[in-house]
């Protein structure tokens, strides 16, 4: 058939119009296919709704019960006490805040400096080496970091600094900082790269040094992405379970004096992970743990919306 190609090439031998049957079939298949794909994609939405629904459902008994006021006003968490169970979440919130704060105090400067280095200082070749390092750092499972915190860092801290316990705010905070670093670096670097060469050239052209160009021009221009980076880092630190469970010491207390980072604390995630195994399904304690889950969920959801908004701004800048 193909050998006779030149002779055949004269006319159009295939119909350019669809027959009504083809037309209908095409329409139906197209619709079916699209709805199928849409349905599959919509499962993500369903999953999010289910997560909210089921966490709230399991916690609803508690939130409607008599302990709600105490939940938000007390620092005492004695759920297993027989006579006077107490469900105050404040100390636990404080614990999360402490480790997150310490983590951010370490991770934000280190992360931002590293991002600057990657976006503006490093040569292409070195960057090709450092990027996989960051990826590998991001890939190490959290339980491995927790393992390191408990078996290596904690004894070292105890002997080196003479702390009462090696598993404390500082330990958990430092490890969380390491875990948040890759997120902060990559998002911050993206937003700094999105700022574009022209602005940099303008700054250098006016006689700025690199530090001045970065601090006065590039970083302000990239501020939304950098804030998003920090927010994502906070989300990572707040939501992390295994490290804080293993490394924060799990003592439900607010450290006193308040600046003593060698005290143990207990975070929201660690409370859920640690207590869930000991509760009875449907008990007040069980529902209280799900209430903590709601706090976590709402908190990260809010941060997520903010960061998404900020990153959308970065993306627009990149396209423009």
């Amino acid at each position: 058939m193909h050998s006779s190609r030149p002779q055949e090439a004269a006319g159009f031998n295939r119909p350019l119009l669809l027959s009504p049957g083809q037309d209908l079939r095409g329409y139906v298949f197209d619709r079916l296919g699209r709805s199928f794909l849409f349905f599959i994609t919509f499962l993500s939405v369903v999953a999010v709704l289910l997560i909210f629904f089921f966490i709230i459902r399991e916690a609803s008994g508690f939130l409607a019960g008599p302990y709600v006021k105490q939940f938000f006003s007390s620092t005492h968490w004695y759920p297993e006490s027989r006579e006077h169970p107490e469900y105050g979440v404040l100390a636990i919130l404080g614990g999360s805040a402490y480790v997150t704060l310490v983590a951010m105090l370490v991770a934000v400067p280190v992360g931002l400096f590293s991002a600057v280095w990657l976006s503006d200082v490093a040569s292409f070749r070195v960057r090709q080496i450092i990027k996989p390092v960051i990826e590998i750092l991001a890939a190490i499972p959290s339980v491995a970091f927790g393992f390191f915190a408990v078996l290596v860092l904690a004894p070292w801290m105890q002997t080196r600094f003479g702390f009462d316990t090696g598993t404390n705010i500082l330990n958990a905070g430092v490890i969380l900082a390491v875990m948040a670093l890759p997120t902060i670096i990559s998002v911050a670097e993206d937003s700094m790269s999105a700022v574009g060469m022209e602005i940099r050239e303008a700054a250098y052209g006016l006689g700025s040094t690199r530090a001045e160009a970065m601090i006065r021009v590039v970083i302000p221009a990239a501020h939304s992405g950098i804030i998003a980076a920090v927010i994502l880092g906070v989300m990572r630190a707040v939501g992390e379970t295994m490290v804080v469970w293993m490394a924060s010491g799990n003592a439900t207390q607010i450290p006193s004096p308040w600046w003593d980072l060698s005290k143990s604390v207990r975070t929201m995630t660690a409370t859920i992970a640690g207590d869930m195994g000991e509760t009875v399904q449907g008990s007040v304690h069980y529902q209280a743990l799900f209430s903590i889950g709601i706090l976590l969920l709402v908190f990260t959801f809010g941060l997520n919306l903010i960061s998404e908004h900020l990153l959308a701004r970065v993306r627009r800048k990149k396209e423009a």
Partner: protein, 559 residues
């Protein structure tokens, strides 16, 4: 001018230095975290294994060359016999309670011996009385701290040696006991007997840790006590404990205690035990026959209590199963969602909602996924399905329906799958978007429909990117612990034979072995081995992903 420039340049240098420092710090942290974990973890796989190790492998796991191990054990038992004999002799000297029991027992046996021999009446009483005298003499000797007195009482006993009445009776043992004890009493400072007894207890413990239970001892209940030092580093540690005693002594009142290390050899100087220390120290190789061992079965073997012996086979298997089933769920969903997001839609409200939800899903803390997995799959969905399948349709057995109501692999996999779904969607979407538009144009211009062009051109071109995303999410799923805490992970248990049973997993195992398990604290190489396996698995996957990405990016550039 110089004064104006200088601080600015200085600040600039400082800034650059801080940047350098931060990056170096990060690399340093990576090395500090990874290196000890990997180095110590490798010790679980590469080490000098002793015969105890080989025997344990043979008995507990059924691996190894039985004949060879038997031959080795023969040699080793010969070598160890000296130690046990010396220890036994020494024990006779200090552990007089034990000797006294023996002597009393022999006296009772003598009574029944006489009755069995048909001796009764007066003769019976007389002979028993004489035996009783001997017994008391021996007991006196055992109890006394005075060497002279001991020897005299023992001579007393030995005088009756020739007495034909005792020949061939249980009393005959008295003479041997007396003889050996007189020899021991001559060498041992009897006044230090309590100290010796205590120190000897430690020596015996150290010997047990080195050699395992001695000949004739009953097998201990725990597997970990049934074998001696299985590794050369353990041998060295226990040898130190055998050769040196460590005591906390108070030098002055009120001052902190000081650790004092003393050689046991000196402590036991002049006793039967003295040569043992030199003997063990110099013949260590002969006593253990250490060989370099590549214990590759570490990745396949099960483990005894507290991971004291064995490997992490069930954990690896569990992690692979969890990862596999979660991917089975997440990969098709992820790729289809990505295809939809890229190919089928513009920018309408539905797409924006879907995107926000995917981002939300990516931001939900992993422990909340765990809570959700428990509340939804384990407590709600599966019981309903089980009830429906068993009660209404009758396709499930009651057992399966029951298993569905408990944490199991399926629930954990689905939870993990949900966790990595946004990762796969984002990676796939990015990969599909990265395919140049002119690929699609070319395919369409050749008469391919939208579906055809996607399947035959865009998907293959995006495949490396999608594959990279899948591998990264694989490693994420393998490393996550919190989502499987309540949905299907256990610290100990049999290897599951269906996906309706809970399983061990490397991630949860790493947690448990680090903080949950008391026995595991005794075997740090096992702790590190587990986490090394997990980290190695995850990093290998990541390095493969990085490699594929760099290769495909080169390929797209036509190199």
């Amino acid at each position: 001018m110089k004064f104006r420039i200088f601080p600015r340049e200085f600040r600039d240098k400082c800034f650059t230095a801080s940047c350098m420092f931060s990056v170096c710090l990060m690399v340093f942290i990576l090395v500090v975290v990874l290196f000890p974990m990997m180095a110590r973890g490798l010790k679980a796989v590469f080490f000098q294994g002793t015969n105890e190790f080989r025997e344990m492998q043979l008995v507990v796991f059924g691996h190894g060359d039985a004949e060879r191990i038997q031959r080795e054990n023969g040699e080793i038992e010969e070598a160890r016999a000296f130690v046990y004999e010396a220890a036994n002799r020494f024990r006779r000297g200090i552990d007089t309670e034990h000797l006294a029991d023996e002597v009393r027992g022999a006296y009772r046996d003598y009574g029944s011996y006489l009755r069995a021999a048909g001796i009764s009446g007066e003769r019976y009483s007389a002979q028993r009385a004489r035996a009783k005298d001997l017994r008391d003499a021996l007991l006196d000797a055992f109890e006394s701290r005075d060497k002279e007195y001991v020897q005299s009482r023992l001579q007393c006993v030995l005088q009756s040696r020739a007495d034909p009445d005792f020949g061939g009776t249980p009393i005959e043992a008295y003479f041997e006991t007396a003889e050996s004890y007189s020899r021991i009493a001559a060498s041992v400072d009897l006044s230090r007997r309590e100290q010796y007894a205590e120190a000897f207890g430690e020596v015996r413990e150290a010997l047990h840790k080195l050699f395992g239970p001695g000949p004739g001892e009953p097998a201990p209940a725990l597997t970990m006590d049934q074998y001696g030092a299985t590794r050369w580093d353990a041998v060295e540690r226990e040898l130190h404990r055998l050769l040196w005693s460590e005591d906390w002594v108070e030098t002055e009142p009120g001052r902190p205690m000081v650790k004092e290390t003393r050689a046991r050899r000196e402590f036991f100087a002049g006793t039967e035990l003295e040569p043992v220390f030199d003997y063990v120290e110099t013949n260590l190789e002969k006593l253990f026959q250490p060989r370099f061992t590549f214990y590759w079965r570490y990745f396949m073997d099960g483990s005894t209590d507290g991971h004291y012996f064995g490997g992490c086979g069930p954990e690896i298997l569990g992690t692979l199963a969890l990862t596999f089933f979660s991917m089975l769920f997440a990969i098709p969903l992820g790729i289809i969602s990505a295809a939809f997001l890229v190919e089928c839609t513009g920018d309408n409200i539905a797409v924006r909602v879907i995107r926000t939800c995917i981002n939300t899903l990516a931001g939900v803390p992993s422990i909340v996924f765990g809570l959700f997995g428990m509340a939804f799959f384990v407590l709600f969905l599966f019981p309903v399905i089980g009830e429906f399948g068993h009660g209404t349709l009758g396709i499930f057995s009651a057992e399966a329906a029951d298993k569905l109501t408990k944490p199991n692999i399926l629930a954990a996999s689905l939870t993990l799958g949900l966790l990595v779904l946004p990762v796969i969607i984002r990676a796939s979407e990015e990969a599909i978007r990265a395919v140049p538009i002119n690929y699609k144009e070319a395919a369409l211009a050749l008469g391919a429909g939208q579906f055809r062009s996607f399947m035959t051109v865009i998907l293959p071109a995006a495949a490396p990117g999608i594959f990279t995303g899948i591998i990264l999410s694989l490693s994420r799923a393998a490393g996550e612990t919190a989502p499987i805490l309540f949905t299907g992970a256990i610290a100990f248990g049999p290897v599951p034979d269906s996906i309706l049973e809970p399983t061990r997993a490397l991630s949860y195992g790493s947690y448990d072995i680090a903080v949950g398990d008391r026995l595991a604290m005794l075997v740090p190489h096992k702790q590190y081995g587990m986490v090394m396996t997990l980290v190695a698995l995850v990093l290998t996957l990541n390095i493969i992903a990085i490699w594929i990405r760099s290769r495909s990016s080169r390929k797209l550039r036509g190199l």
